[in-house]
Amino acid sequence: MIYLDNVAGTKPDERVVEKMIPFLKEKYGNPSAHFYPLGREAFEAVNEAREHVANLIDATPDEIVFTSCGTESNNMAIKGLALNDNYKDKKHIIISEIEHFSVQNTCIKLLNEGYKITKLKVDNNGQINLDDLKKSITDDTLLVSIMSANPEIGTIQDSAAIGQICKEKGVIYHVDAVASVGHQKVSVKDFNCDLLSLAGQNFYGPRGTGALYVNKEVKLTPLFDGGFQENGYRSGSENVAGIVGLGEAARIAKDEMDTYIPKMQALGKKLMASLEGMFDFLHITGDKSKRLPGHVSFWIEYIEGESLLLWYSLNNIYGASGSACSSNILAEDEDDLAASHVLTAVGVPNDICAGSMTFSMSKYITEEDIDKVIEVTPTIVTRLCEMSPYYNKK
């Protein structure tokens, strides 16, 4: 199996799993019960994990709130601000048109609460225009929420420059860094951000774990009412084993990122160059240089993405497609099928972005894996082209 859908979630590092197991078995204390050894042990393990996560993103441990995933972190950041009385006079939020649904749909909810949402356009590479951002900020602007990297097309934004603009304008800046953390250097200091979301599953940690960095100057209203866990920001019993795994993944990423990123970058470049050389009707999406390491995304004229996805899958190569037909296939209604908003935003026409494909690598991918993808692609593409009424043999 060649797993190349790592923006959907990476394989957990074996050391992460090993570190978690005791907290699923014998170390089952509740961190809130830290007056006896079993609870104290869990409490200390959670705090150790907090230090590792903080260390990975240049924050301090008391600025880290553990959540259940990136979606929860994004919801907590945006709704938490909107609910807070300190910011009740500001009703404008700026996002980009390629944000994750957990940002877009959260903002749509806020429209009903009287908020105005500005969606910044992106260029054909998926970059926002910094002048557009500057012009969009008004006295009413509460928040700018721009992701650091897009998982579908791989494009990396200039988060530091965006942060600088927000800082100068006195606007709160949230970064959805779920696709970036563990794959590029992410520093809340360099980014000048106030809020930053991350998820463990995207950098060799466990699924169902996440964290939100909250700058001490920022006030958030908790989304859950309950006890006082996570410094009052997130009530509910902690997922101790998950948090321990997330912390271990953060520790490993901090120590080893400089080693595995260049390898992933080189393999990504090799795959991208090979694919581009195969067919003149294959087009790379996203920014070719400012992109996540090992991220390759493309669309092919004449053929449909889900069929491409299925054929790679039959060759034991697992990727992703943003085609309408691969979206929400288990939906009850065909109206729920829609082409990726990211691909349409970067200018790929609706009928053509049907043929999109994304391969995202992990540190475990080898050169042999990439050679296999390169080997099978011509057969798959030729087969589907022959079947297509659009394709005319020249």
């Binding site: 069929s307 299925l310 065909e334």
Partner: protein, 146 residues
């Protein structure tokens, strides 16, 4: 075999589509598309003088369900009379494929529409009013109701 949301039958037809290609001397060609997802199916019919489908081929731009529906439709068409193929509904295609996910039923509808389009083209070519297809379809539906 990777099954995913599709039945073994769908995957079998996806991997080994029957009657894929074009018929150079086809006397009925229909091309239909689904605006919701961009799928397109082109169906070629070779109908004999006594109104029997002698040969049928397809080309499809679409997902696994669209390709499997196209392939199954061609299997069900071969050797049938014009009247018989008009009785072929999308439900029959879905049934023959051992089901499709709800969001993919439209792929079988596309196959049914392609058959109608190809037959209309056939009637035009033989000098008849293509509306006859709609009239025959209406009669079949009426018969089913009763």
């Amino acid at each position: 075999m990777a099954k995913g949301p599709y039945s073994d039958k769908v995957m079998e037809h996806f991997m080994n589509p029957r009657n894929m290609g074009e018929i150079n001397d086809a006397n009925g060609v229909g091309e239909v598309g689904n605006p919701a997802c961009g799928d397109v199916m082109k169906l070629y019919l070779k109908i004999s003088d006594d109104g029997i489908v002698e040969d049928v081929k397809f080309k499809t731009f679409g997902c696994g369900a669209a390709i499997a529906s196209s392939s199954m439709a061609t299997e069900l068409l071969k050797g049938k009379t014009v009247e018989q193929i008009l009785e072929l509904t999308n439900n029959a295609i879905v049934e023959a494929l051992d089901g499709l996910p709800p969001a993919k039923i439209h792929c079988s509808v596309m196959a049914e529409e392609a058959i109608e389009a190809a037959l209309k083209d056939y009637y035009v070519r033989v000098g008849k009013d293509p509306k006859i297809v709609d009239e025959m379809k209406a009669k079949i539906k009426d018969k089913v109701k009763h």
